[in-house]
Structure formats: structure tokens, C-alpha cells
């Protein structure tokens, strides 16, 4: 539902926070700091809303339906409840509760990252099949070269000044490329932010 109140809230809050970047006024800072704090709190609450929706919306719906996903969702819900209850009793600073991260989450995530080593290598096999153009070929050569450099197999080049300078110069290129990409992304961010601040884009309305 289109609401002028929501639009006003978005525009005014945004402008106050934005002005804080450019106008070093203590009065503005006094308003801006709690406003940013509220945004952090709301972001946390939004996170909770999303988690509740995930568990009690998406997965509990699936549990009610027949199918292969039923058990998957059941496991999600059970694990969530177990962790939540444990956390509520133990609190997050408890060393026992922290083992959830160090002995469950970390091994799973690290292993997933390890899987990536294989799957990305496998994807790279077909790299030139997908991107058979100048850009693809340059990318391909760079990947190989820098994998070799990262492995330390070219450490002997440290003794050869020309090679060392060449490799050092090569590492400048990403600086320029990244700077260009980052500036482009900043322009895109600026445009998106401004569209929201002038009310042209209102993702918060329904």
C-alpha cells in the first residue's frame, strides 16, 4: 500500500543521516548517532523476523507437506530449536555454547570452502569454453600465472631482479582494475541511493 508516511520517513531519515556526512554540526551528530543506533536495532529485528519466517514459515510449511523435503525441514527446525534453547539458557558468551561455532559451524563451513577448491577448479576447466574471447584468455592466463606465484614455486625469481620487478609490476595491474571497478560500483551505489532518497524507488511499500 502506498503510504506517504513511509515515503516521508524514508526521505527524512535518509537526508538527516546523509547530511551528517557533509555538515560537521554537533547538533546534527546528536540526532544522527541515535538514528544510526535505531537502524542497527531494526536491522537486528529484521534478522529475527527473517529467521522466524525461515523456520516457522518456510520449513514448518514444508513439514506439513508430503515429500522429500519434509525431513530436511524437520531437521532444520529441530536443530534451530535445540540451538536456540541452549543459547537462551547458556547465553552466547558461554564457552560451551560457543562450541556450536567452533565444532559444528566452522568444520561445516570450512569443508564447504574446501569443496569449492575442487568445484571451482573443475569449473575453470571449462573456462575458455564459456568465455572464448580476449577477456577470457587474459583471465585464463592471469589465473594460471598467479596460482603459480601464490604457490611459491616462483620464489627463485626473488634472486633475479628483472623477473622480480616484472612480477611486482604485474601486481600493479589489479590495483588499477580494482580501482576502476570500485569507482564504477560507487557510482551505481550513488545512483541507487539517490533514487531512494528522492522517492523514485520505494522497495518498502506494498
Amino acid at each position: 500500500m502506498k503510504s506517504p508516511i513511509a515515503l516521508a520517513v524514508a526521505v527524512i531519515s535518509g537526508l538527516i543521516v546523509l547530511l551528517g556526512y557533509f555538515i560537521p554540526s554537533p547538533m546534527l551528530a546528536d540526532i544522527r548517532t541515535p538514528m544510526l543506533d535505531w537502524a542497527v536495532i531494526l536491522s537486528g529485528v529484521a534478522g529475527l523476523v527473517a529467521i522466524i519466517h525461515l523456520v516457522f514459515g518456510v520449513h514448518s510449511d514444508r513439514v506439513k507437506k508430503e515429500g522429500a523435503r519434509q525431513w530436511f525441514s524437520l531437521v532444520v527446525i529441530l536443530c534451530f530449536l535445540l540451538t536456540l534453547v541452549a543459547g537462551l539458557f547458556l547465553e552466547p558468551t558461554s564457552p560451551i555454547f560457543q562450541k556450536v561455532v567452533t565444532y559444528i559451524q566452522t568444520p561445516i563451513e570450512s569443508s564447504l570452502l574446501a569443496i569449492l577448491a575442487v568445484t571451482l577448479s573443475f569449473s575453470s576447466l571449462k573456462l575458455l569454453q564459456r568465455q572464448r574471447n580476449w577477456m577470457g584468455i587474459v583471465f585464463f592466463v592471469t589465473v594460471i600465472l598467479f596460482l603459480v606465484i601464490n604457490s611459491g614455486l616462483l620464489s627463485f625469481t626473488d634472486r633475479i631482479p628483472i623477473l622480480r620487478d616484472f612480477l611486482s609490476g604485474l601486481q600493479l595491474i589489479p590495483t588499477a582494475g580494482a580501482r576502476g571497478i570500485v569507482l564504477g560500483v560507487a557510482l551505481g551505489s550513488l545512483a541507487t541511493g539517490i533514487r531512494i532518497l528522492i522517492g523514485a524507488e520505494r522497495p518498502y511499500e506494498n
Binding site: I23, A50, L120, S123, F139, L187, P203, E205, N206
Partner: protein
């Protein structure tokens, strides 16, 4: 941060805003109609949208895991605009798009967007709040959740627009069955992974052009034109600064 920088920054914002508004006006648009270069992934995406309508398959839009309080949130917001537009375009299909995110704020917004689409296109019967989900609370669980969420959902096209990290590689794993996957991120790491693992990757700023290329509205087209102007200004500023630096004036 010096006051000079603050003045420059403020001027950039003010002029950018004014130019966006000017280029959005009908008079300017008609007098100087925008012409943008062709970007192949967008053509493929349009085709995928048509295909989705045609063969009764779904499109999956993933918005990344940027928090709304993070500067990287704009890529997710662009993803939302794309979701909105794609939802409108596929409204004649019996399978509306599904959306996944890794951030609470983006989830709420994506649900709102899906609802808005259903109202705009008179397809409220098709609206289901569970078509948008935060599939996981951490980046890796979000990626793992996507694998499961889009499995057997009839997804045959993916649009990954938002802030991703290394988990982008895992997400790409789950995209393999889809016909088309258009990917873009503000993160260079994710861009590199997408470039290596998918066909249609949007590089850098290109992702911000997605709504404009999907004809989402005059504001988006105007933004692109103003971005081009400011790109020139930035380039000029860099050259001028470099000369002044060499001369020793700054």
C-alpha cells in the same frame, strides 16, 4: 576528513540528484532519447524471462546477503528492482519468481515486492509469502539453503544480483541445472567467481544497469546517463589532480 572534501562530496550528491531529475523529465527524454550500449547478459536475461513464461518454469532471483545498514546494500536493492520488474514481466506465467536472500532486511523487502507485483498484475492468487525466504542466516548457510530451496521448484533461470562473498562459488554449484544464470555483484571476489563459473556475468557497475535495461522506469535510465556524466567528471578529476601533483601544486 577535510571540509573541502565535504563540500566536494556534497556538491557531487546535489548535482547528481539534480541531473537525475532533469534526465527523468519527459521533455529531456524526448529531446535526447537515451541510447545505451548492448550488454549481452541482459539480452539473455530477457530471453530467459520469455522462456520462463513460455515453458512454465520459474525464475529465481537471489539478492545476496548485504545488511541494509551496510554500504553494499545498494546491490541488493538493485536486485529488488530487478525482482519487481521480472515479476511484472512473468506475471502471465503460472509460476511467479522466487527470491532468496541472506539478509533479514532484504527478505522483508523482497516479500513486499512480491506482494506488490501480485497486486499490480492482478495475480494475488499466486502470491505466497514463502516464495521469498532468507535461506540461511550466515553466508554459507544461505548458499546451502539456496541449493535446497530452488531444488525441484521448477527453476530454469537464475538472477544473482547482490552482495556475495566466496559463498558465490557454492551458489554457482546449484545453478548448474538452470538454462540461464545472470550474475552480478558489487564484490570483486564474487565477480571473479561468477566470471569463472557462469556464462552471463555482469562486471562491476553493469549490475546497476539491470533495472534500466529491463525498462523498469525513466528514473533508472536517467541514472545511467548521469553515471556516465560523473564518470567523465571523475576521470577528469583524476587527470587534473595527477597533473597538479606532478607540478607540485597539491
Amino acid at each position: 576528513m577535510s571540509s573541502a572534501e565535504q563540500i566536494i562530496g556534497f556538491s557531487i550528491v546535489v548535482f547528481f540528484t539534480i541531473l537525475v531529475i532533469i534526465f527523468s523529465t519527459k521533455a529531456v527524454r524526448n529531446r535526447y532519447p537515451p541510447i545505451f550500449r548492448k550488454i549481452e547478459p541482459f539480452n539473455r536475461l530477457k530471453r530467459a524471462i520469455g522462456m520462463a513464461v513460455e515453458d512454465g518454469s520459474r525464475l529465481h532471483i537471489s539478492l545476496g546477503n548485504a545488511q541494509l545498514t551496510d554500504p553494499a546494500n545498494t546491490s541488493g536493492l538493485v536486485g529488488l528492482s530487478a525482482l519487481h520488474r521480472i515479476g511484472q514481466l512473468t506475471s502471465t506465467s503460472d509460476l511467479p519468481p522466487i527470491c532468496t536472500t541472506g539478509s533479514g532486511g532484504l527478505l522483508v523487502l523482497s516479500q513486499d515486492t512480491l506482494k506488490t507485483i501480485s497486486i499490480e498484475t492482478n495475480t494475488r492468487a499466486f502470491f505466497d509469502a514463502n516464495h521469498a525466504a532468507m535461506t540461511g542466516a550466515t553466508p554459507f548457510s544461505y548458499a546451502a539453503g539456496i541449493m535446497e530451496f530452488i531444488d525441484n521448484s521448477g527453476v530454469n533461470g537464475n538472477v544473482l544480483i547482490g552482495n556475495f562473498g566466496t559463498e558465490a562459488g557454492l551458489i554457482c554449484e546449484s545453478l548448474n541445472k538452470a538454462r540461464v544464470s545472470v550474475t552480478g555483484s558489487d564484490s570483486i571476489t564474487a565477480q571473479a567467481i561468477f566470471y569463472a563459473a557462469t556464462q552471463d556475468t555482469l562486471i562491476g557497475e553493469e549490475l546497476y544497469a539491470l533495472p534500466a535495461y529491463l525498462a523498469a522506469g525513466p528514473g533508472y535510465l536517467a541514472s545511467l546517463r548521469v553515471e556516465d556524466i560523473f564518470r567523465m567528471v571523475i576521470g577528469g578529476g583524476m587527470i587534473a589532480g595527477a597533473i597538479l601533483k606532478i607540478v607540485g601544486l597539491i
